[in-house]
Protein backbone atom coordinates (compact mmCIF):
# COMPACT_ATOMS: atom_id res chain seq x y z
CA UNK A 1 0.00 0.00 0.00
CA UNK A 2 1.32 3.34 -1.01
CA UNK A 3 1.90 5.94 1.72
CA UNK A 4 -0.48 8.89 1.61
CA UNK A 5 -1.72 11.33 4.22
CA UNK A 6 -5.24 9.96 4.10
CA UNK A 7 -7.39 8.44 6.82
CA UNK A 8 -7.24 4.64 6.69
CA UNK A 9 -10.59 3.09 5.93
CA UNK A 10 -12.03 0.70 8.50
CA UNK A 11 -11.35 -2.18 6.10
CA UNK A 12 -7.75 -1.21 5.47
CA UNK A 13 -7.24 -0.85 9.19
CA UNK A 14 -8.81 -4.20 10.05
CA UNK A 15 -6.80 -5.97 7.37
CA UNK A 16 -3.52 -4.71 8.82
CA UNK A 17 -4.83 -5.40 12.28
CA UNK A 18 -5.12 -9.10 11.67
CA UNK A 19 -1.44 -9.25 10.91
CA UNK A 20 -0.48 -6.96 13.82
CA UNK A 21 -2.28 -9.04 16.44
CA UNK A 22 -0.41 -12.10 15.22
CA UNK A 23 3.03 -10.60 15.86
CA UNK A 24 3.16 -12.04 19.37
CA UNK A 25 0.82 -14.43 21.21
CA UNK A 26 -0.52 -11.73 23.54
CA UNK A 27 -2.02 -9.97 20.51
CA UNK A 28 -4.78 -12.55 20.38
CA UNK A 29 -6.27 -11.27 23.63
CA UNK A 30 -7.09 -7.83 22.20
CA UNK A 31 -10.76 -7.44 21.34
CA UNK A 32 -11.71 -3.98 20.07
CA UNK A 33 -15.34 -4.05 21.25
CA UNK A 34 -14.46 -5.46 24.64
CA UNK A 35 -11.62 -2.92 24.94
CA UNK A 36 -14.00 -0.08 24.11
CA UNK A 37 -16.34 -1.21 26.90
CA UNK A 38 -13.38 -1.34 29.27
CA UNK A 39 -12.17 2.13 28.22
CA UNK A 40 -15.66 3.56 28.75
CA UNK A 41 -15.31 2.59 32.42
CA UNK A 42 -12.18 4.76 32.85
CA UNK A 43 -13.18 7.54 35.27
CA UNK A 44 -12.42 11.16 34.37
CA UNK A 45 -9.62 11.47 36.91
CA UNK A 46 -7.77 8.60 35.27
CA UNK A 47 -8.27 9.90 31.72
CA UNK A 48 -5.29 11.71 30.20
CA UNK A 49 -7.42 13.99 27.99
CA UNK A 50 -9.61 15.19 30.84
CA UNK A 51 -6.72 15.90 33.18
CA UNK A 52 -4.75 17.78 30.52
CA UNK A 53 -7.77 19.87 29.53
CA UNK A 54 -8.39 20.81 33.17
CA UNK A 55 -4.76 21.85 33.64
CA UNK A 56 -4.85 23.89 30.44
CA UNK A 57 -8.01 25.69 31.54
CA UNK A 58 -6.58 26.43 34.99
CA UNK A 59 -3.19 27.52 33.59
CA UNK A 60 -1.37 24.88 35.64
CA UNK A 61 1.69 22.86 34.60
CA UNK A 62 1.49 19.14 35.48
CA UNK A 63 4.52 16.98 36.36
CA UNK A 64 5.09 13.54 34.85
CA UNK A 65 8.05 11.23 35.52
CA UNK A 66 9.53 8.49 33.35
CA UNK A 67 9.60 5.02 34.94
CA UNK A 68 9.47 1.37 34.06
CA UNK A 69 10.94 -1.95 35.24
CA UNK A 70 10.84 -5.52 34.02
CA UNK A 71 8.46 -7.20 36.48
CA UNK A 72 4.78 -6.31 36.88
CA UNK A 73 4.59 -6.15 40.67
CA UNK A 74 7.79 -4.15 40.92
CA UNK A 75 6.49 -1.85 38.18
CA UNK A 76 3.24 -1.27 40.07
CA UNK A 77 5.16 -0.63 43.28
CA UNK A 78 7.38 1.90 41.48
CA UNK A 79 4.46 3.78 39.95
CA UNK A 80 2.53 3.78 43.22
CA UNK A 81 5.56 5.28 44.93
CA UNK A 82 5.82 8.05 42.34
CA UNK A 83 2.09 8.67 42.71
CA UNK A 84 1.92 8.67 46.52
CA UNK A 85 5.36 9.78 47.67
CA UNK A 86 6.49 11.74 44.59
CA UNK A 87 3.15 13.44 44.03
CA UNK A 88 3.22 12.91 40.25
CA UNK A 89 0.24 14.36 38.38
CA UNK A 90 0.41 11.91 35.47
CA UNK A 91 2.03 8.47 35.30
CA UNK A 92 4.12 6.81 32.61
CA UNK A 93 5.12 3.32 31.78
CA UNK A 94 8.46 3.55 30.09
CA UNK A 95 8.81 0.59 27.74
CA UNK A 96 12.10 -1.33 27.54
CA UNK A 97 14.46 -1.06 24.57
CA UNK A 98 13.98 -4.62 23.28
CA UNK A 99 10.25 -4.04 22.94
CA UNK A 100 11.06 -0.83 21.07
CA UNK A 101 12.85 -2.95 18.46
CA UNK A 102 10.03 -5.56 18.55
CA UNK A 103 12.46 -8.14 19.94
CA UNK A 104 9.94 -9.81 22.23
CA UNK A 105 12.01 -13.01 22.64
CA UNK A 106 14.80 -10.97 24.15
CA UNK A 107 12.24 -9.40 26.49
CA UNK A 108 11.39 -12.91 27.70
CA UNK A 109 15.06 -13.43 28.52
CA UNK A 110 15.13 -10.10 30.33
CA UNK A 111 12.02 -10.97 32.34
CA UNK A 112 13.42 -14.37 33.37
CA UNK A 113 16.84 -12.92 34.25
CA UNK A 114 15.15 -10.18 36.28
CA UNK A 115 13.25 -12.79 38.27
CA UNK A 116 16.48 -14.67 38.94
CA UNK A 117 18.58 -11.59 39.74
CA UNK A 118 15.92 -10.01 41.94
CA UNK A 119 16.42 -6.69 40.14
CA UNK A 120 15.33 -5.30 36.79
CA UNK A 121 17.60 -6.37 33.94
CA UNK A 122 15.45 -4.39 31.49
CA UNK A 123 15.34 -0.61 31.20
CA UNK A 124 11.56 -0.52 31.03
CA UNK A 125 8.29 -2.39 31.20
CA UNK A 126 7.83 -5.00 28.42
CA UNK A 127 4.10 -4.38 27.94
CA UNK A 128 3.67 -6.53 24.82
CA UNK A 129 5.04 -9.64 26.49
CA UNK A 130 2.68 -9.16 29.42
CA UNK A 131 -0.42 -8.50 27.32
CA UNK A 132 -3.76 -6.93 28.19
CA UNK A 133 -4.51 -8.72 31.44
CA UNK A 134 -1.30 -7.68 33.19
CA UNK A 135 -1.31 -4.18 31.66
CA UNK A 136 -4.84 -3.73 33.01
CA UNK A 137 -3.58 -4.81 36.41
CA UNK A 138 -1.04 -1.98 36.24
CA UNK A 139 -3.74 0.52 35.22
CA UNK A 140 -6.14 -0.69 37.91
CA UNK A 141 -3.54 -0.43 40.66
CA UNK A 142 -3.12 3.30 40.10
CA UNK A 143 -5.16 6.44 40.65
CA UNK A 144 -3.76 8.62 37.86
CA UNK A 145 -3.90 8.68 34.05
CA UNK A 146 -1.37 6.31 32.51
CA UNK A 147 0.69 6.72 29.33
CA UNK A 148 3.09 4.52 27.39
CA UNK A 149 6.45 6.22 26.73
CA UNK A 150 8.95 4.40 24.59
CA UNK A 151 10.72 4.98 21.24
CA UNK A 152 9.22 2.30 19.03
CA UNK A 153 9.25 2.73 15.25
CA UNK A 154 6.59 0.01 14.87
CA UNK A 155 4.37 0.47 17.88
CA UNK A 156 1.19 -1.06 16.44
CA UNK A 157 0.91 -4.11 18.68
CA UNK A 158 2.07 -2.14 21.69
CA UNK A 159 -0.59 0.51 21.01
CA UNK A 160 -3.32 -2.12 20.70
CA UNK A 161 -2.36 -3.66 24.02
CA UNK A 162 -1.90 -0.52 26.08
CA UNK A 163 -5.05 1.26 24.93
CA UNK A 164 -7.10 -1.92 25.46
CA UNK A 165 -5.69 -1.86 29.00
CA UNK A 166 -7.04 1.57 29.89
CA UNK A 167 -3.85 3.52 29.20
CA UNK A 168 -5.27 6.73 27.73
CA UNK A 169 -2.16 8.18 26.15
CA UNK A 170 0.62 7.02 23.85
CA UNK A 171 3.80 8.87 23.07
CA UNK A 172 5.50 8.76 19.69
CA UNK A 173 5.20 9.36 15.98
CA UNK A 174 6.45 8.18 12.62
CA UNK A 175 9.34 10.64 12.65
CA UNK A 176 10.05 11.19 16.32
CA UNK A 177 10.07 7.46 17.23
CA UNK A 178 12.10 6.46 14.19
CA UNK A 179 14.88 8.92 13.33
CA UNK A 180 16.22 9.24 16.93
CA UNK A 181 15.54 5.59 17.84
CA UNK A 182 16.38 3.39 14.85
CA UNK A 183 19.21 2.86 12.40
CA UNK A 184 17.57 1.24 9.41
CA UNK A 185 13.82 1.71 9.48
CA UNK A 186 12.64 3.71 6.47
CA UNK A 187 10.63 6.84 7.09
CA UNK A 188 7.94 5.45 4.81
CA UNK A 189 7.61 2.35 6.99
CA UNK A 190 7.43 4.16 10.30
CA UNK A 191 4.99 6.78 9.01
CA UNK A 192 2.76 3.98 7.75
CA UNK A 193 2.96 2.12 11.05
CA UNK A 194 2.19 5.23 13.07
CA UNK A 195 -0.79 6.00 10.84
CA UNK A 196 -2.10 2.70 12.19
CA UNK A 197 -1.45 3.75 15.80
CA UNK A 198 -3.18 7.08 15.20
CA UNK A 199 -6.07 5.43 13.36
CA UNK A 200 -6.59 3.11 16.32
CA UNK A 201 -7.01 6.18 18.53
CA UNK A 202 -9.29 7.72 15.89
CA UNK A 203 -11.48 4.61 15.88
CA UNK A 204 -11.77 4.77 19.67
CA UNK A 205 -12.70 8.46 19.31
CA UNK A 206 -15.46 7.44 16.90
CA UNK A 207 -16.71 5.16 19.68
CA UNK A 208 -16.80 8.12 22.07
CA UNK A 209 -13.57 7.28 23.89
CA UNK A 210 -10.97 10.00 24.43
CA UNK A 211 -7.34 9.05 24.08
CA UNK A 212 -4.39 11.45 24.03
CA UNK A 213 -1.51 11.26 21.57
CA UNK A 214 1.86 12.90 22.11
CA UNK A 215 4.50 13.18 19.37
CA UNK A 216 7.97 13.03 20.97
CA UNK A 217 9.19 16.61 20.91
CA UNK A 218 12.89 16.55 21.85
CA UNK A 219 13.96 14.13 19.06
CA UNK A 220 17.66 13.44 19.75
CA UNK A 221 17.52 15.79 22.71
CA UNK A 222 20.80 17.34 21.66
CA UNK A 223 20.99 20.90 20.33
CA UNK A 224 17.92 20.51 18.12
CA UNK A 225 17.00 24.00 16.88
CA UNK A 226 13.41 24.78 18.00
CA UNK A 227 12.22 25.36 14.43
CA UNK A 228 13.30 21.85 13.41
CA UNK A 229 11.58 20.14 16.34
CA UNK A 230 8.50 22.36 15.97
CA UNK A 231 8.29 21.49 12.26
CA UNK A 232 8.41 17.77 13.11
CA UNK A 233 5.84 18.20 15.91
CA UNK A 234 3.42 20.04 13.63
CA UNK A 235 3.86 17.47 10.83
CA UNK A 236 3.22 14.59 13.24
CA UNK A 237 0.25 16.50 14.63
CA UNK A 238 -1.23 16.90 11.15
CA UNK A 239 -0.62 13.22 10.35
CA UNK A 240 -2.32 12.15 13.59
CA UNK A 241 -5.24 14.52 13.08
CA UNK A 242 -5.90 13.06 9.63
CA UNK A 243 -6.30 9.62 11.23
CA UNK A 244 -8.93 10.96 13.60
CA UNK A 245 -6.88 11.85 16.68
CA UNK A 246 -8.65 14.68 18.54
CA UNK A 247 -6.47 15.19 21.62
CA UNK A 248 -2.85 16.11 20.96
CA UNK A 249 0.05 17.14 23.15
CA UNK A 250 2.91 18.65 21.17
CA UNK A 251 6.32 18.65 22.76
CA UNK A 252 9.56 20.55 23.00
CA UNK A 253 12.84 19.76 24.74
CA UNK A 254 14.51 22.49 26.78
CA UNK A 255 17.38 24.17 24.94
CA UNK A 256 18.50 26.26 27.90
CA UNK A 257 18.06 29.88 26.85
CA UNK A 258 14.93 30.99 28.70
CA UNK A 259 13.66 33.35 26.04
CA UNK A 260 14.16 30.77 23.29
CA UNK A 261 12.51 28.06 25.38
CA UNK A 262 9.44 30.16 26.12
CA UNK A 263 9.31 31.38 22.51
CA UNK A 264 9.49 27.81 21.21
CA UNK A 265 6.44 26.69 23.22
CA UNK A 266 4.43 29.78 22.27
CA UNK A 267 5.43 29.52 18.59
CA UNK A 268 4.51 25.83 18.63
CA UNK A 269 1.01 26.45 19.96
CA UNK A 270 0.28 29.40 17.72
CA UNK A 271 1.62 27.80 14.56
CA UNK A 272 0.14 24.33 15.16
CA UNK A 273 -3.27 25.91 15.72
CA UNK A 274 -2.91 27.86 12.47
CA UNK A 275 -2.14 24.67 10.54
CA UNK A 276 -4.92 22.66 12.20
CA UNK A 277 -7.35 25.43 11.31
CA UNK A 278 -6.07 25.66 7.74
CA UNK A 279 -6.54 21.91 7.25
CA UNK A 280 -9.87 21.82 9.03
CA UNK A 281 -8.90 19.63 11.99
CA UNK A 282 -10.65 20.17 15.31
CA UNK A 283 -7.95 19.45 17.88
CA UNK A 284 -7.77 19.87 21.65
CA UNK A 285 -4.13 21.00 21.82
CA UNK A 286 -1.85 20.96 24.86
CA UNK A 287 1.93 21.16 25.26
CA UNK A 288 4.69 19.25 26.99
CA UNK A 289 8.05 20.70 27.99
CA UNK A 290 10.91 18.24 28.49
CA UNK A 291 13.49 19.13 31.12
CA UNK A 292 17.06 19.12 29.81
CA UNK A 293 17.56 15.97 27.70
CA UNK A 294 21.34 16.20 27.27
CA UNK A 295 24.20 15.27 29.54
CA UNK A 296 23.67 15.86 33.27
CA UNK A 297 26.17 16.64 36.03
CA UNK A 298 26.91 13.56 38.18
CA UNK A 299 26.59 15.58 41.40
CA UNK A 300 23.00 15.29 42.65
CA UNK A 301 22.75 18.85 43.98
CA UNK A 302 23.86 20.18 40.61
CA UNK A 303 21.36 17.86 38.93
CA UNK A 304 18.64 19.51 41.03
CA UNK A 305 19.81 22.84 39.59
CA UNK A 306 19.29 21.52 36.06
CA UNK A 307 15.92 20.00 36.95
CA UNK A 308 14.59 23.16 38.58
CA UNK A 309 15.83 25.47 35.83
CA UNK A 310 13.84 23.35 33.38
CA UNK A 311 10.79 23.41 35.64
CA UNK A 312 10.97 27.18 35.88
CA UNK A 313 11.16 27.50 32.09
CA UNK A 314 8.18 25.15 31.70
CA UNK A 315 6.12 27.18 34.15
CA UNK A 316 7.08 30.53 32.64
CA UNK A 317 6.31 29.17 29.16
CA UNK A 318 2.91 27.98 30.33
CA UNK A 319 3.41 24.38 29.17
CA UNK A 320 0.57 22.01 30.12
CA UNK A 321 2.95 19.41 31.48
CA UNK A 322 6.63 18.89 32.11
CA UNK A 323 8.58 15.65 31.83
CA UNK A 324 10.78 15.25 34.88
CA UNK A 325 14.43 14.24 35.12
CA UNK A 326 16.02 12.87 38.30
CA UNK A 327 19.17 13.54 40.34
CA UNK A 328 20.50 10.15 39.10
CA UNK A 329 20.29 11.17 35.44
CA UNK A 330 24.05 11.12 34.86
CA UNK A 331 24.43 7.52 36.06
CA UNK A 332 21.48 5.88 34.38
CA UNK A 333 18.08 4.66 35.46
CA UNK A 334 17.13 6.16 38.84
CA UNK A 335 15.96 4.49 42.02
CA UNK A 336 12.36 5.18 42.93
CA UNK A 337 13.52 7.55 45.66
CA UNK A 338 15.61 9.59 43.21
CA UNK A 339 12.72 9.62 40.77
CA UNK A 340 10.36 10.91 43.46
CA UNK A 341 12.94 13.53 44.47
CA UNK A 342 12.96 14.87 40.91
CA UNK A 343 9.18 15.14 40.90
CA UNK A 344 9.10 16.89 44.27
CA UNK A 345 11.72 19.48 43.29
CA UNK A 346 9.86 20.02 40.02
CA UNK A 347 6.46 20.44 41.62
CA UNK A 348 7.79 22.84 44.24
CA UNK A 349 9.23 25.00 41.45
CA UNK A 350 6.02 24.79 39.43
CA UNK A 351 3.90 25.65 42.46
CA UNK A 352 6.00 28.69 43.36
CA UNK A 353 5.69 29.96 39.79
CA UNK A 354 2.06 28.92 39.32
CA UNK A 355 0.24 31.43 37.17
CA UNK A 356 3.45 33.38 36.42
CA UNK A 357 4.38 33.80 32.75
CA UNK A 358 7.34 35.38 30.99
CA UNK A 359 5.79 38.66 29.86
CA UNK A 360 5.97 39.59 26.19
CA UNK A 361 9.03 41.72 25.45
CA UNK A 362 10.65 42.74 22.19
CA UNK A 363 13.22 39.95 22.62
CA UNK A 364 10.54 37.31 23.19
CA UNK A 365 8.39 38.57 20.32
CA UNK A 366 11.35 38.55 17.92
CA UNK A 367 12.31 35.02 18.93
CA UNK A 368 8.75 33.74 18.46
CA UNK A 369 8.65 35.31 15.01
CA UNK A 370 12.05 33.87 14.07
CA UNK A 371 11.07 30.35 15.12
CA UNK A 372 7.78 30.59 13.24
CA UNK A 373 9.47 31.91 10.10
CA UNK A 374 12.10 29.15 10.19
CA UNK A 375 9.46 26.49 10.83
CA UNK A 376 7.37 27.77 7.93
CA UNK A 377 10.37 27.56 5.55
CA UNK A 378 10.74 23.87 6.46
CA UNK A 379 7.05 22.89 6.33
CA UNK A 380 6.50 24.80 3.07
CA UNK A 381 9.28 22.80 1.44
CA UNK A 382 7.96 19.50 2.85
CA UNK A 383 4.55 20.22 1.36
CA UNK A 384 6.14 21.23 -1.94
CA UNK A 385 8.16 18.00 -2.11
CA UNK A 386 5.01 16.00 -1.39
CA UNK A 387 2.95 18.00 -3.88
CA UNK A 388 0.62 18.89 -1.05
CA UNK A 389 0.76 15.48 0.68
CA UNK A 390 2.62 15.94 3.95
CA UNK A 391 3.29 12.22 4.45
CA UNK A 392 4.87 11.81 1.04
CA UNK A 393 6.62 15.14 1.53
CA UNK A 394 8.12 13.97 4.83
CA UNK A 395 9.71 10.91 3.20
CA UNK A 396 11.17 13.06 0.43
CA UNK A 397 12.23 15.76 2.87
CA UNK A 398 14.36 13.31 4.83
CA UNK A 399 15.87 12.04 1.57
CA UNK A 400 16.66 15.60 0.57
CA UNK A 401 17.91 16.68 4.01
CA UNK A 402 15.14 19.27 4.25
CA UNK A 403 14.15 17.62 7.50
CA UNK A 404 17.44 16.87 9.23
CA UNK A 405 17.81 15.93 12.91
CA UNK A 406 21.23 16.52 14.44
CA UNK A 407 23.06 13.48 15.90
CA UNK A 408 20.35 11.04 14.84
CA UNK A 409 21.28 7.35 14.39
CA UNK A 410 19.02 6.75 11.38
CA UNK A 411 20.61 6.18 8.01
CA UNK A 412 17.52 7.83 6.53
CA UNK A 413 18.58 11.10 8.12
CA UNK A 414 21.00 13.29 6.13
CA UNK A 415 22.98 14.47 9.15
CA UNK A 416 24.29 17.48 7.25
CA UNK A 417 22.76 20.14 9.44
CA UNK A 418 24.84 21.19 12.45
CA UNK A 419 23.62 23.28 15.39
CA UNK A 420 25.52 25.32 17.96
CA UNK A 421 24.74 27.83 20.66
CA UNK A 422 24.94 31.57 20.13
CA UNK A 423 26.51 33.89 22.69
CA UNK A 424 23.29 33.89 24.78
CA UNK A 425 23.03 30.10 24.75
CA UNK A 426 20.19 29.91 22.21
CA UNK A 427 20.53 27.04 19.72
CA UNK A 428 21.15 28.22 16.14
CA UNK A 429 21.97 26.66 12.78
CA UNK A 430 25.73 26.48 12.27
CA UNK A 431 25.56 24.42 9.04
CA UNK A 432 22.20 24.41 7.29
CA UNK A 433 22.98 21.40 5.12
CA UNK A 434 19.91 21.23 2.91
CA UNK A 435 17.51 22.70 5.45
CA UNK A 436 15.75 25.35 3.38
CA UNK A 437 15.85 28.82 4.89
CA UNK A 438 15.64 32.22 3.26
CA UNK A 439 18.72 34.40 3.06
CA UNK A 440 17.61 36.69 5.86
CA UNK A 441 17.31 33.77 8.28
CA UNK A 442 20.61 32.24 7.16
CA UNK A 443 22.45 35.50 7.60
CA UNK A 444 20.88 36.10 11.00
CA UNK A 445 21.88 32.66 12.32
CA UNK A 446 25.40 33.15 11.00
CA UNK A 447 25.67 36.60 12.52
CA UNK A 448 24.71 35.29 15.95
CA UNK A 449 27.30 32.50 15.81
CA UNK A 450 29.99 34.89 14.58
CA UNK A 451 29.24 37.07 17.62
CA UNK A 452 29.96 34.11 19.88
CA UNK A 453 33.07 33.13 17.93
CA UNK A 454 34.39 36.66 18.27
CA UNK A 455 33.66 36.74 21.99
CA UNK A 456 35.51 33.44 22.42
CA UNK A 457 38.38 34.39 20.14
CA UNK A 458 38.01 31.42 17.82
CA UNK A 459 36.34 30.53 14.53
CA UNK A 460 32.85 29.09 14.15
CA UNK A 461 33.58 25.36 13.98
CA UNK A 462 32.57 21.80 14.86
CA UNK A 463 34.59 22.09 18.05
CA UNK A 464 31.94 24.55 19.33
CA UNK A 465 29.33 21.84 18.80
CA UNK A 466 31.38 19.27 20.71
CA UNK A 467 32.00 21.76 23.52
CA UNK A 468 28.28 22.58 23.69
CA UNK A 469 27.30 18.92 23.97
CA UNK A 470 29.44 18.43 27.07
CA UNK A 471 28.79 21.84 28.62
CA UNK A 472 25.77 21.17 30.87
CA UNK A 473 27.35 17.99 32.25
CA UNK A 474 30.26 20.23 33.19
CA UNK A 475 28.04 22.79 34.84
CA UNK A 476 27.56 25.50 32.21
CA UNK A 477 25.23 26.03 29.26
CA UNK A 478 27.65 27.24 26.60
CA UNK A 479 30.80 25.28 25.77
CA UNK A 480 33.35 28.07 25.95
CA UNK A 481 37.02 27.25 25.36
CA UNK A 482 39.01 26.97 28.58
CA UNK A 483 40.92 30.05 29.55
Amino acid sequence: MELKNKKLSRDEFLKIREEVLNQWPTGRDVDLEEAAQYLKSVPDYKNFCVKLKKAKDEGITLAQPRAGVALVDAHIELLKYLQNEGGADLLPSTIDSYTRQNRYSECEVGIEESKKAGRSMLNGFPAVNYGVKECRRVYESLELPLQARHGTPDSRLLSEIIHASGWTSNEGGGISYNIPYAKSVSVEKSLTDWQYCDRLVGIYEEMGIHINREPFGPLTGTLVPPSMSNAVAIIEGLLAAEQGVKNLTLGYGQCGNLIQDVAAIRALVEQAEEYFKEYGYDIELTTVFHQWMGGFPADESKAFGVICTGSAAAALAGATKVIVKTPHEAVGIPTKEANAAGIKATKQTLNLLRGQRLPLSKELKDEIELIKAETKCIIDEVLKLGKGDIAVGTVKAFEAGVLDIPFAPSRYNAGKMLPARDNNGAVRYLEFGNVPMNKEIRDYNRKLLEERAKYEGRDVSFQMVVDDIFAVGRGVLIGRPEK
Binding site: S97, R119, P180, K183, A298, T335, P409
Partner: protein, 136 residues
Protein backbone atom coordinates in the same frame (compact mmCIF):
# COMPACT_ATOMS: atom_id res chain seq x y z
CA UNK B 1 50.79 3.25 10.53
CA UNK B 2 47.42 4.04 12.00
CA UNK B 3 45.93 1.50 14.38
CA UNK B 4 42.42 0.36 13.46
CA UNK B 5 39.64 0.14 16.03
CA UNK B 6 35.99 -0.86 15.85
CA UNK B 7 33.52 1.41 17.61
CA UNK B 8 29.81 0.88 18.20
CA UNK B 9 26.80 0.93 20.51
CA UNK B 10 25.71 -2.60 21.40
CA UNK B 11 22.27 -4.19 21.49
CA UNK B 12 18.98 -2.38 21.12
CA UNK B 13 20.59 0.87 22.19
CA UNK B 14 20.15 3.90 19.92
CA UNK B 15 22.16 6.55 21.81
CA UNK B 16 23.97 8.20 18.91
CA UNK B 17 25.41 11.41 20.29
CA UNK B 18 28.25 9.97 22.35
CA UNK B 19 29.04 7.57 19.52
CA UNK B 20 29.56 10.45 17.12
CA UNK B 21 31.70 12.30 19.65
CA UNK B 22 33.86 9.21 20.29
CA UNK B 23 34.35 8.75 16.54
CA UNK B 24 35.45 12.35 16.32
CA UNK B 25 37.80 12.09 19.31
CA UNK B 26 39.52 8.81 18.35
CA UNK B 27 39.95 9.97 14.76
CA UNK B 28 41.51 13.20 16.00
CA UNK B 29 43.79 11.09 18.21
CA UNK B 30 45.19 9.32 15.15
CA UNK B 31 43.21 6.10 15.04
CA UNK B 32 41.54 4.56 12.01
CA UNK B 33 38.00 4.35 13.38
CA UNK B 34 35.51 1.83 11.97
CA UNK B 35 32.24 3.07 13.44
CA UNK B 36 29.43 0.52 13.12
CA UNK B 37 27.09 2.93 14.93
CA UNK B 38 24.16 2.27 17.20
CA UNK B 39 21.90 -0.79 17.47
CA UNK B 40 24.75 -3.15 16.72
CA UNK B 41 24.67 -6.88 17.58
CA UNK B 42 27.82 -8.66 18.80
CA UNK B 43 28.25 -10.22 15.35
CA UNK B 44 28.59 -6.81 13.70
CA UNK B 45 31.45 -5.88 16.03
CA UNK B 46 33.22 -9.18 15.34
CA UNK B 47 32.69 -9.09 11.58
CA UNK B 48 33.95 -5.53 11.34
CA UNK B 49 37.03 -6.40 13.42
CA UNK B 50 37.87 -9.38 11.17
CA UNK B 51 37.31 -7.45 7.94
CA UNK B 52 39.45 -4.50 8.98
CA UNK B 53 42.06 -6.40 10.96
CA UNK B 54 41.29 -4.23 13.98
CA UNK B 55 43.31 -4.26 17.19
CA UNK B 56 40.58 -3.24 19.56
CA UNK B 57 36.80 -3.26 19.91
CA UNK B 58 35.22 -0.37 21.81
CA UNK B 59 31.70 -1.13 23.01
CA UNK B 60 29.33 1.55 24.29
CA UNK B 61 26.14 0.82 26.18
CA UNK B 62 24.08 3.71 27.48
CA UNK B 63 20.68 2.21 28.23
CA UNK B 64 21.24 -0.26 31.05
CA UNK B 65 21.01 -3.55 29.16
CA UNK B 66 24.81 -3.81 28.83
CA UNK B 67 24.99 -6.79 31.13
CA UNK B 68 22.76 -8.92 28.90
CA UNK B 69 24.08 -7.54 25.63
CA UNK B 70 27.80 -8.00 26.37
CA UNK B 71 27.67 -11.51 27.76
CA UNK B 72 29.61 -14.00 25.64
CA UNK B 73 31.33 -11.40 23.45
CA UNK B 74 34.82 -12.51 24.54
CA UNK B 75 34.01 -16.15 23.83
CA UNK B 76 32.63 -15.31 20.38
CA UNK B 77 35.75 -13.27 19.60
CA UNK B 78 37.87 -16.25 20.58
CA UNK B 79 35.81 -18.56 18.37
CA UNK B 80 36.13 -16.12 15.45
CA UNK B 81 39.89 -16.13 15.80
CA UNK B 82 40.11 -12.65 17.37
CA UNK B 83 42.36 -14.11 20.07
CA UNK B 84 43.44 -11.52 22.67
CA UNK B 85 41.82 -8.58 20.83
CA UNK B 86 41.41 -5.66 23.23
CA UNK B 87 37.83 -5.29 24.45
CA UNK B 88 36.79 -2.00 26.06
CA UNK B 89 33.33 -1.20 27.34
CA UNK B 90 31.85 1.97 28.82
CA UNK B 91 28.67 3.88 29.57
CA UNK B 92 25.63 3.36 31.78
CA UNK B 93 26.25 -0.37 31.85
CA UNK B 94 23.58 -1.52 34.26
CA UNK B 95 20.05 -0.57 35.29
CA UNK B 96 20.08 1.76 38.28
CA UNK B 97 22.76 3.29 40.48
CA UNK B 98 24.99 0.39 41.58
CA UNK B 99 28.36 0.16 43.26
CA UNK B 100 30.90 0.85 40.52
CA UNK B 101 33.53 -1.63 41.75
CA UNK B 102 31.10 -4.52 41.54
CA UNK B 103 29.95 -3.43 38.06
CA UNK B 104 33.55 -3.17 36.86
CA UNK B 105 34.38 -6.61 38.26
CA UNK B 106 31.36 -8.15 36.55
CA UNK B 107 32.47 -6.86 33.15
CA UNK B 108 36.11 -7.80 33.75
CA UNK B 109 34.92 -11.29 34.56
CA UNK B 110 33.21 -11.29 31.15
CA UNK B 111 36.62 -10.68 29.57
CA UNK B 112 36.71 -6.92 29.04
CA UNK B 113 40.16 -5.35 29.37
CA UNK B 114 38.90 -1.93 30.38
CA UNK B 115 35.56 -0.88 31.86
CA UNK B 116 34.53 2.79 32.07
CA UNK B 117 31.89 4.46 34.22
CA UNK B 118 29.47 7.10 32.86
CA UNK B 119 30.98 10.52 32.31
CA UNK B 120 34.45 9.24 31.37
CA UNK B 121 36.29 11.67 29.12
CA UNK B 122 37.21 10.28 25.67
CA UNK B 123 40.81 11.27 26.50
CA UNK B 124 40.98 8.68 29.30
CA UNK B 125 40.10 5.86 26.93
CA UNK B 126 42.44 7.24 24.26
CA UNK B 127 45.37 7.30 26.66
CA UNK B 128 44.61 3.80 27.91
CA UNK B 129 44.35 2.48 24.37
CA UNK B 130 47.64 4.05 23.36
CA UNK B 131 49.24 2.48 26.40
CA UNK B 132 47.71 -0.95 25.81
CA UNK B 133 48.71 -0.89 22.13
CA UNK B 134 52.18 0.37 22.93
CA UNK B 135 51.93 3.48 20.74
CA UNK B 136 53.66 6.67 21.88
Amino acid sequence: MKKTIVLGVIGADCHAVGNKILEHAFTQAGFNVINIGVLSPQEDFINAAIETNAEAILVSSLYGHGEIDCRGLREKCDEAGLKDILLYVGGNLVVGKQDWNSVEQRFKDMGFNRVYPPGTSPDTAINDLKHDLGVE
